[in-house]
């Protein structure tokens, strides 16, 4: 499975990447913000799953989800991984098109469980 992680923190990209390694042999790609995320999608001709942060420079996670939904990659399942824990924010992300929502801090088990819920693994 090809997975794109969009987060302006290299630390968080690496942590999420490590969580994914525990789930099998996936092809992991990274982007620093929403703008770079859209470029990556074009470059890769789409991916199977996207995990994105909310607070990022240039294009934030919510805008990124909206941009993906409006693009040819609109059917890609997306998970928001963020510090934004308010219920209104969760609803906002889900309304925009996120399939699931993970609040930082998280354990590897939480990330893996949320991914399974989305991809049905």
């Amino acid at each position: 499975m090809r997975i794109l992680i969009v987060d302006d923190s290299s630390t968080m990209r690496r942590i999420i990447g490590n969580c994914l390694k525990g789930m099998g042999n996936h092809e992991i790609h990274e982007a620093n913000d929403g703008v770079e995320g859209m470029s990556k999608l074009d470059e890769l001709k789409g991916v199977d799953l996207i995990l994105t942060d909310w607070n990022m420079p240039n294009m934030n996670g919510l805008q990124f989800i909206q941009a993906v939904k409006a693009s040819q990659y609109g059917s890609t399942p997306m998970i928001m991984v963020t510090t934004e824990a308010e219920k209104t924010k969760v609803v906002e992300a889900l309304k925009a098109g996120a399939k699931n929502y993970v609040v930082k801090p998280f354990t590897p088990q939480v990330i893996q469980e949320k991914i399974k819920q989305v991809i049905g693994g």
Partner: protein
Amino acid sequence: MKAYVLSSSPVESRILVNILSKQGIATTLVQAPDEIGDKTSDECMIFLDWDNPKLSPAQKSALCQLLRRDAAERTFVVGQRAVESELVQAVEGRDSYVVYKPIETEDVHQKVSYVRKAAFAKMKLDARVINAFVQGVASTFETMMQMSPVRDKVYMLDPENPAGVTDALCDISGVMGLSGDYHGSVVISLPVRLALKATARMLGEPERTSLDAGVRDCLGEIINIIAGQAKAALTSTPYRFALALPTVIVGKGHKVHIQEDSPTLVMVFSMEGDRFCIQVNIRPGKPGEV
């Protein structure tokens, strides 16, 4: 705190500006009382030049009354000893102060220092804010790094002695700005050894040997998560704010200067033989402030 100087004398205004700036107080010069108007608040002091020829004695007394009501304990009447009785009468029965001309630096320093300390003593930070950040620190370290910080001590930073945070704790700091209904910042400062250990645990990798880009990024993410946790815990309180993007400062014994016009809470934690601290500075946002 800030200061307003209402004076018709550029020379004396300049003297006051210089004296106050040495105490880290930003000063605004005004020509008429209405330029101060509704700006009076707990965060400002007012210096009123009693020799101002544009103001009649009646106007000065009226102004003192107004300032007393709006800025009690923070009004300074500046005038000649020759009119001492008039000056004393102006501040009589109030907690205002007289500063005699020629203006002496030490005299102003002592009075301003007293006013700042009195204002500082009144500053309190809501227990809900303290608890939200303490919980945020605990859950972030426990969940992401399997480390258990123990709260060592909690105190309010003295604005007269902002070096209250031990230099030994400040090798690397992560700073998160807060904006919205409430403004401020949250700062985490760690010694090198603890920063390296926390990064290794968070990434599940061997310890690095220096505060490289990976450690700096990790610190930014830690303060981001702590602030996010506190923000979520405070959702149902008036303390609502948005998070900025984190910044990281590296340098042995560095200082992070935070806004002086609001209380700063310092929380020191112990963890695995080292200590680190979190500083939280928060105040209501002002009209027009982004």
